[in-house]
Symmetry: C2
Subunit: 387 residues, 2 copies
């Protein structure tokens, strides 16, 4: 495979790759360290200073349904969505969570608690985000039950369909697939519906939408997510879950997220400073390099995504998903094969699909991504050392 | 009742109380704002500065069982326990959580997952922390089941006993009460086992101990708690819960908790600066004022606590619990009565006890506490306006 050699790599880059030649590269989790370089370039603009006596109370705003949501964060979230045009915030309740994982569980709790019949079936169209399986199963709740692939779901009774768009792991644009007649609810996970990952083709207007700070700016360590919720009863039940589960959400993280979200909103139309311009270029380049390697051989496959007009950028662009849904042309356990090459990925079987596919994080550090491409480029066949 | 008048109040204090004469005083939650004054006096000593590019990753230390625990926080926790002498940290795993509520649920998950028989019964001796009922019930898990008062628990099979010492709501020192023969496990909640609340009479050495940053220093908004866990399998299962539930814990909060815990450890032996000296005096004064009001009349009751030698202070001291377990001598719904007086408390019935008792937070703001005492002092009988 010649792909990797074609890309412009300096001598020092080659040395780095050599140094890392024996290292295990973890592209299983989607730790979004890809954007750290941007934040280093931004220097002091998003420095947060917190005094010892600040942010001590449990309460942020006792007049709000979500009493632990800092009012300034609520404003920052609305301003960002308005600037990007990816989601409607009017006449909605904002519920903040310790990442969108906790919010997803709060939403399952809320929708199933409000259902007359229990347990409520929880489904997602394969390939799906493997963590949904764990989230819907681990506490063995009597309120809801994981039922697997939404495409083959044929039970009667109430259900909750998880719709992730763009989809994790395969980057496709999704709509609900269950044609249920009664009591069907949808949780829309829009973690990746931002212009550096996908064209913003419409302002989303769904009943229950989840977003996460981690995947917008790369600040995964802050554990901040939010839900935009139309129905006050659903919002109240979600808040009940978050109150019992963790008595709210870190005020330090909310403060920092406020500062950072305000900054990316403020600069989003200034080409030289815009986080979304930077992120978009970064992701585009990674995808071009990955496609070059894949297409220069006849071993691996990648999905092709249709271009679309992005309302935010005002031009037609290609999607650059946060994960690559890498497949192989032969019938092989690709995850197992790549593990032998010391590249950790998430097996497609964990996502309700097959072992011929793996989910590869496109969000890791430059060094790791370079080594990954290098290893991929040097694969000549899929013979396992230890089959 | 003359108690309140006896305490030294300035003219401006009296005016404040007058201003607040119509306000609803919320002493239901234990929002620990009582200590904010100390942190304001400490000025810049605990200021935290976080740059935009810091703390971005999900991971803190991939070699640790608790991979999302910041190593500096682990060190700060150990140093504090060593300085205070309230809990053993050697040969234990530290698990950090989004407050000790999340850790309590992680512990229920861990202990019940590892049990051969399910559901595992969850009990606590009444009066108990009312939130345990919600924590053990809300998701309707098949793994464990809330079974109420530990004193009357007589089922066979595995159980988990919650032991809170000093106890929330009534401030008593607790030991397990269930004499179960098989599979009994104990979660020790030591949220208030600190020298400003109670004499430190021994270094606790239990299998699974919970602590919370909120109730030590008053930083409830940070949502930081930790568990000290002997058994690695229990620690691993708790980490599994926290991984699925929220993919770890806010790094900003961990960073701030590290700074603040290190500061109170550093100054704990300097009388003029020590947080514990300050906290102890503050709580002692509040209890003296409350007892003065209660004892000057014949309507209310308070528990009496035995004095004990505190190993930390090196002298015999009286306990000053974070909550007052206020009772009335007549058969009345005390919570309902106080609500009419615009004082919100937690009814004893919610804690598995009777309506003659309420839990009153001793941790609120000075103004609120003053108004509460004033209202209590002016009560002449328990006749309800609207019985």
């Amino acid at each position: 495979m010649a792909g990797f050699e074609n890309s412009k790599k300096s001598d020092s880059d080659s040395k780095k790759i050599e140094c890392l030649s024996d290292a295990v590269i973890n592209l299983d989790q989607g730790d979004p360290t890809v954007f750290q370089e941007y934040w280093m370039k931004m220097k002091d603009t998003c420095t947060v200073v917190i005094q010892g006596w600040e942010l001590m109370s449990y309460f942020s705003d006792t007049t709000n349904v979500c009493w632990f949501l800092e009012p300034e964060l609520a404003k920052a979230i609305k301003a960002l969505h308005n600037a990007i045009g990816n989601a409607a915030t009017e006449e909605r309740y904002i519920v903040v969570g310790t990442g969108s994982s906790q919010l997803c569980q709060a939403a399952l709790f809320a929708l199933s608690s409000l259902s007359e019949v229990k347990p409520v079936s929880v489904v997602a169209a394969a390939p799906y985000y493997s963590t949904y399986v764990e989230e819907a199963s681990y506490v063995q709740s009597k309120l809801y039950k994981w039922e697997g692939d939404a495409r083959t779901f044929d039970k009667n009774g109430p259900y909750i369909e998880m719709v992730t768009s763009p989809n994790n792991p395969d980057g496709t644009i999704r709509e609900p697939v269950v044609n249920g007649s009664e009591g069907g609810k949808v949780i829309h996970d829009f973690a990746y519906y931002w212009p550096h990952y996908t064209p913003i083709t419409r302002c989303q207007d769904q009943d229950l939408m989840l977003f996460t700070f981690s995947k917008i700016t790369g600040h995964a360590g802050s554990r901040i997510g939010w839900a935009l919720v139309k129905d006050i009863e659903v919002a109240k039940k979600m808040v009940q879950y978050l109150t019992i589960n963790s008595i709210g959400v870190s005020k330090e993280s909310q403060t920092r997220a406020t500062t950072i979200l305000n900054e990316i909103t403020k600069t989003c139309r200034t080409k030289s400073e815009s986080f979304f311009e930077y992120g978009s270029e970064k992701m585009k380049l990674r995808w071009e390099r990955l496609r070059e390697v894949v297409e220069s051989g006849d071993i691996f496959t990648l999905p092709n995504y249709p271009q679309a007009f992005c309302n935010f950028f005002g031009k037609t662009i290609s999607p650059s998903p946060g994960f690559a849904w890498l497949g192989c042309k032969e019938e092989r356990d690709l995850g197992c094969f790549l593990k032998e090459k010391k590249v950790l990925t998430r097996g497609g079987d964990r996502c309700g699909s097959d072992k011929k596919h793996v989910r590869v994080s496109m969000l890791g550090r430059d060094d790791d991504f370079d080594v990954f491409l290098h290893r991929l480029a040097t694969i000549e066949d899929l013979k396992c050392i230890d089959p």
